[in-house]
């Protein structure tokens, strides 16, 4: 208990860092993932191809490798001087958006063709078909797995710690400098993640049960 109470400031700051990184990366990956999904379902073959190549490459790249590039290789390119926090966000966004893209795309694919055909037969425009027929049904299939991906993102923020950004996973080095028991400190970090992740998992299961029976 002492390890937690004596270093409450450190733990608080670290978890705030985690949450900040999570929120920025979650929003960024949703935006980029939606754009990629748009490319993958578009009527333009070359854009579909680009989307597919991006997704299959990034999904088969270790996140640590993406971080490695942004931590060590990016500064050598002398493009713009970004803080480590920004680079960590970029790495997480690039990685997570591939998974977001896949979920959105397969969500759109679960909507039966007849739905869109029927709405076109009724004279709906493309935007009307998309916004009032396809998307409302696709959302049900998309949100539960999307929650899973955001949970994975939350856990992945710890990798930033290994590349030295102050957040929850990095507490250990600060603790060992101050001479506290690292094991107990890390167990508190694990508990913190349980507190963050378990409600999200419960929410995800609720959504899944409630929405999956709709068809």
């Amino acid at each position: 208990m002492n390890v937690l109470l004596d270093n409450l400031g450190l733990f608080g700051q670290a978890f705030l860092g985690t949450i900040r990184l999570f929120i920025v990366a979650a929003i960024g990956s949703l935006v980029l993932g939606t754009i990629l999904a748009g490319m993958r379902v578009s009527p333009v073959p070359i854009l579909r191809r680009f989307g597919a190549v991006y997704v299959s490459t990034v999904r088969n790249t270790p996140l640590t490798l993406v971080f490695f590039f942004f931590a060590f290789a990016y500064p050598r390119l002398e493009i713009a001087d970004l803080s480590f926090f920004t680079r960590a966000c970029l790495a997480l966004i690039i990685y997570t958006s591939a998974f977001v893209c896949e979920v959105i795309r397969s969500g759109i694919n679960t909507v039966p063709v007849g739905q869109a055909e029927a709405s076109r037969a009724l004279g709906f425009t493309f935007n009307q078909t998309l916004s009032s027929v396809v998307l409302p049904q696709a959302v049900r299939a998309v949100v539960p797995p999307l929650t899973n991906i955001e949970i994975a993102l939350l856990k992945n923020t710890t990798i930033a710690a290994g590349f030295s950004v102050l957040e929850a996973g990095g507490v250990y080095s600060a603790l060992s400098e101050r001479g506290y028991n690292v094991l107990i400190g890390l167990l508190w970090v694990a508990l913190g993640f349980l507190i963050l992740v378990v409600p999200l998992t419960v929410l995800q299961r609720r959504l899944d049960q409630r929405w999956s029976v709709s068809r």
């Binding site: 333009v44 490798l65 739905q115 078909t129 396809v134 994975a152 094991l183 167990l187 378990v198």
Partner: protein
């Protein structure tokens, strides 16, 4: 190809699509071109920075690193399949005193980040308790506990997705619980979940890269080491590019196996439903 969102394009739409295509290509190529331009402008493709690739000692070093990566992957894969099977059996047990703890273990190891788990094993247990755990075993045990828990969910979902009639018929024939599981349920469930299991093995392979953060001498570790060698001209970007190609190629091969198995199992309708049930029941996130 999704036909949900649009009809077969007419002449107007075809022109518009071609226009969008050109704009898209210009944007994407522009981005790739810019990165390439920065690589060339900062001299990353100079011959001096690529000299290291011709040295035999470095080739052997990288080969050893590759073997270290594959070794950790192989041990972790085998162990996590075993742990997954045990935990799944525990969760499927009809005795509460078995299934409750199994559920707790699975949920716990799925909820805490893998890196924190590895740090606990490496820094925490070795410094806090005085047990000496090598980087290899910290990495392998971390991977095993996390992926074993995920695989347990895969196995469980696969067995639960089978029609009830299967086990009912087996019980009616007088089989025991173990016989029902090993002779009737598992052979059918294993087929359905093979693609998901292989995809999870891709995750194991990807996550061996986390060993870099506890200084396990795998590919990224050697890349960092070579990249900081002054007499080679600090070739961190060239080395990283080569290592990235190796990682991505290995994972793509494994993913291709998973895709092949999935396509093959699509021939039977019943199996699709099973496979879909397995995929839905398990978070397909790739932590």
């Amino acid at each position: 190809m999704t036909a949900v969102l649009y009809d077969i394009p007419g002449p107007k739409a075809r022109i518009r699509n071609a226009g969008t295509g050109i704009v898209g290509v210009v944007l994407v190529l522009g981005l790739i071109g810019f990165v390439l331009y920065r690589l060339i402008a900062t001299g990353q493709f100079d011959a001096r920075l690529w000299e290291w690739i011709t040295y035999e000692a470095i080739q052997i070093l990288l080969l050893q690193a590759l073997l270290a990566t594959l070794g950790a992957f192989a041990v972790a894969a085998v162990l996590s399949l075993a742990v997954g099977a045990v935990l799944a059996a525990g969760r499927l047990s009809e005795h509460r005193w078995v299934s409750r703890p199994a559920t707790l273990v699975v949920e716990f190891f799925r909820a805490i980040p893998l890196l924190v788990l590895i740090f606990i094993l490496f820094y925490g247990v070795s410094r806090g308790l005085g047990l000496n755990i090598s980087t290899f075993w910290a990495l392998v045990l971390g991977l095993t506990l996390y992926n074993g828990s995920v695989l347990a969910e895969v196995f469980r979902a696969g067995v639960l997705a089978l029609p009830r009639g299967q086990s009912e018929a087996a019980y009616a024939l007088g089989m025991r619980k173990t016989q029902v599981m090993t002779n009737v349920l598992l052979p059918q469930a294993l087929r359905a979940m093979m693609p998901t299991v292989i995809s999870q093995l891709v995750v194991v392979l990807k996550d061996t890269a986390l060993g870099f953060l506890i200084l396990y001498p795998e590919l990224l570790y050697q890349a960092r080491f070579l990249g900081s060698q002054g007499q080679l001209g600090l070739p961190i970007i060239p080395v990283a590019l080569v290592v990235a190609a190796i990682y991505i190629a290995m994972c793509l091969v494994l993913s291709a196996v998973a895709n092949y198995l999935e396509r093959r199992s699509r021939t039977s309708r019943k199996r699709i439903e099973l496979a879909a049930a397995v995929i839905v029941a398990v978070d397909h996130d790739g932590g």
